[in-house]
């Protein structure tokens, strides 16, 4: 053989070996990913597809599903007054609790960022509600505390104020749940705190030297630099608060509150599916919720171009 033929052969064998090694690497990667892929397929994707199918049927759970096409969806938007009510309740809840929670978290993070002593303790204490708050136990406690003869009203009575039953009065019941959500500001606060620690103090010092007051510094330095973090928190809180269920369920004792004032979307979905034997309708509601959350998230993403400043100019 000629030298070129020999080197050609050697190059080919090296290439083959490289290809074989790449496939071997791919195989290993697939093997490690397999458990997660199986979980994704059977516990997430699979049920989602089944749910999509069921949303086009009339399924009472106790009997087999029967196809009804778009019936569930049309009923939802044309003749279901409780559906409209649940949307109203959920929108109110999201519109109030998310901004209040984020603003509160930001304020507390700013306070903690001043470098007070015992920062670690405060951080932990403020984070605990987030850990516990989603639980049934806390929701039940909240209900007792804000109820007619609860702790809050007893304290108010001592000062001579006769307060309404915050949980059983349709005007206030939803806000009891909003309060419970705002109480769980800890996780957002920690993320804000971490974000603030990344702001180079030179910006603040430089602008202070130039004569910028604390308010100006906040709006022109801190906020813009924090905006990616705010963006992240906003999207996360938006998504979770749209799906909120436990608190409304426990505080209203499963009923959706006095006169449906705490009938959150997912609570109504649950009732339709499990109490009223209409799982097809409930599945349709679930998909509408997915689309709804998707639309709002998309809106926030689109709007982010206007107010979110990335340090590298947003090119990443």
């Amino acid at each position: 053989m000629t030298t070129s033929q020999v080197s050609q052969a050697r190059i080919e064998s090296v290439a083959t070996r490289r290809v074989k090694r790449r496939y071997a690497h791919n195989g290993a990667a697939l093997l490690f990913l397999a458990p997660w892929l199986v979980g994704l397929l059977f516990l997430t994707l699979g049920p989602m597809l089944v749910s999509l199918y069921i949303s086009f049927t009339d399924y009472s759970i106790l009997a087999a599903p029967s196809w009804v096409g778009l019936n569930n969806y049309t009923t939802m938007f044309t003749s279901d007054k409780l559906f409209t009510q649940s949307l109203k309740v959920t929108f109110t809840y999201v519109a109030v609790s998310v901004p209040v929670k984020l603003i509160f978290a930001l304020l507390v993070a700013m306070l903690l960022n001043k470098g007070i002593r015992g920062l670690g303790i405060y951080r932990t204490v403020y984070y605990i509600p987030t850990l516990l708050g989603g639980s049934v136990a806390i929701a039940m406690l909240w209900r007792k505390m804000l109820g007619g003869d609860g702790l809050l009203n007893s304290v108010l009575a001592m000062v001579g104020i006769k307060a309404p039953d915050w949980v059983a009065n349709p005007k206030y019941a939803l806000y009891s749940i909003v309060l419970l959500s705002v109480w769980q500001f800890g996780s957002s606060m920690i993320i804000f705190l971490a974000g603030m620690k990344q702001i180079p103090p030179e910006y603040d010092e430089a602008s202070a030297v130039d004569g910028a007051g604390p308010l100006r510094r906040f709006f022109y330095i801190t906020l813009p630099i924090l905006s990616p973090v705010i963006f992240f928190n906003l999207v996360m809180q938006l998504i979770t608060s749209f799906q909120s269920f436990t608190q409304a369920f426990v505080i209203s004792n499963g009923s959706g509150g006095p006169v449906n004032s705490t009938l959150m979307y997912s609570l109504y979905l649950y009732k339709k599916g499990f109490s009223f034997f209409q799982m097809g309708y409930a599945s349709a509601m679930a998909w509408v919720l997915v689309i709804l959350i998707g639309v709002f998230t998309l809106l926030v993403f689109r709007s982010s171009k206007l107010w979110v400043h990335y340090e590298d100019g947003g090119k990443s």
Partner: protein, 446 residues
């Protein structure tokens, strides 16, 4: 390849991802109770059944005693109890049936019997009744009919009940007001409630506001000579609904019954009812609940009594009726139908078991057991027996089981009453909405 640190890290990471994927990212994870599907018989021939019921702590204690007695008499069978309160019981049961995972022995209610039976969730007990494994000869025929759907026996009555007004006799005596008589009317009830509230002052009410309780409204409708449901339609007219809601509105206004807020914060748990908390003198409930009401009352020295529901003025028929308080059914997909039938037979026909249960679920359905039991009963239970006796003399036939879709109509009735109580919208509109909603719900569920 060598097990390097790289591979170990990769392995741990993918395990972590697997765990995350499995948790599905939900913030509320249901506490998995580790229930096995259906029952299991292991190699030693031991059979394990699961049983579910709703009730108060009193009922739970009595029922678990009966289960222990059964297990002693049948060493090869163990029964695992799963009990809860009424709220959420049927939601949970529906979910379990959906997962083909329901308990073998199910306490069932008249309101849901049709739904569950027609959808195949319950065991057909007819063959066991015919073979006498499940003895029904001493049972009241009307109770057997009540437990049958489409001529098949699906449910055995656990106790005979009747709706009634539970009242605090001690308060009545204290105020010098005559206790409710069998012949009393809604007007008498209103007057009594108003008088009591006026005498006791702020914070005490004559009665709980039950304007949103479909069961009791049903009695009101029966008094006009018809059942609340006829086939797949709700029969209440807007005039009748107006009359009902107006009566309760007037009583709310003069303090005779609980305020809208208090009513909204009360649940079906007997401990939370105003009469138990010592803030009302009357409540509307079922005869078997008298026992628990007596036990959970804050003022243990108060004696409670029970009377028939007030009669309608110019009523066409008596609204009172005898009702199967609850049933015991088997799960349609149980793996041990014979043992299920055996237990049901034990619970309603065995003298020892029925002695333990007493009349906590209602008066025993087996007439010979009833006769045996009556002389030996404690006072509160004697009261119930006598009450059932009274009702059986002053009542009319029970209506057929509620149609499919009842659960939703029940919920919307309660919402309507809350709307009216809180003054949201005027009553005729709310009523019209309710009637329309009921028509739509029942129409689409048949």
């Amino acid at each position: 390849m060598m097990i390097t640190k790289k591979w170990v890290t990769l392995f741990c990471l993918s395990l972590l991802l697997f765990a995350t994927a499995c948790s599905g990212g939900a913030t509320d994870k249901p506490a998995s109770s580790g229930e096995a599907s259906g029952s299991e018989g292991d190699s030693s021939g031991k059979i394990e059944l699961r049983m579910t019921w709703w009730g108060s702590q009193t009922r739970h204690d009595l029922t678990t005693k009966v289960i222990q007695l059964f297990e002693e008499k049948h060493p090869g069978i163990t029964i695992k109890p799963e009990y809860s309160g009424w709220d959420g019981y049927f939601d949970k049961l529906t979910t379990q049936v959906a997962g083909s995972n329901a308990p073998d022995i199910i306490q069932m209610d008249y309101a849901f019997l049709t739904d569950f039976a027609r959808r195949g969730a319950l065991l057909d007990l007819t063959p066991f009744a015919e073979s006498k494994e499940l003895r029904t000869e001493d049972h009241d025929q009307s109770m057997i009919t009540a437990g049958s759907i489409d001529d098949k026996l699906y449910a055995i009555t656990l106790g005979v009940n009747a709706p009634g007004v539970i009242y605090d006799a001690t308060v009545f005596q204290e105020l010098g007001i005559e206790e409710p008589q069998e012949s009393w009317t809604w007007k008498d009830f209103g007057d009594m409630a108003t008088k009591i509230a006026a005498a006791k002052g702020d914070g005490f009410y004559g009665s709980a506001d039950i304007s949103g309780t479909t069961n009791m409204f049903e009695v009101f409708i029966r008094q006009s000579g018809k059942g609340l449901f006829d086939g797949g339609t709700m029969t209440a007219t807007s005039e009748e609904l107006q009359q009902w809601f107006d009566m309760w509105a007037a009583l709310r206004e003069n303090g005779g019954v609980t305020t809208a807020e208090i009513t909204a914060s009360t649940t079906n748990a007997l401990e939370t009812r105003p009469i138990s908390l010592g803030t009302a003198a009357m409540d509307f409930a079922w005869s078997n609940q008298l026992l628990t009401f007596q036990q959970v009352n804050k003022n243990q020295d108060h004696k409670l009594g029970i009377q028939v529901l007030p009669h309608g003025i110019n009523e066409k028929q008596i609204g009172e009726y005898l009702k199967p308080g609850q049933f015991l059914s088997g799960y349609g997909k149980t793996k041990h139908p014979k043992e299920v039938a055996m237990f049901i037979d034990f619970m309603v026909n065995d003298p020892e078991a029925t002695a333990i249960l007493g009349s906590e679920r209602g008066v025993p359905v087996n007439s010979s057991i009833r006769e045996q039991m009556q002389p030996t009963l404690p006072e509160a239970e004697q009261t119930i027996f006598q009450f059932i006796d009274t009702v059986s003399k002053h009542s009319s036939e029970i209506d057929p089981p509620y149609p499919q879709g009842f659960a939703e109509v029940d919920t919307s009735f309660k919402s309507a009453s809350e709307q009216i109580a809180f003054g949201q919208g005027n009553t005729p509109d709310v009523i019209a909405q309710f009637i329309e909603g009921a028509k739509a719900t029942l129409g689409s569920s048949q």
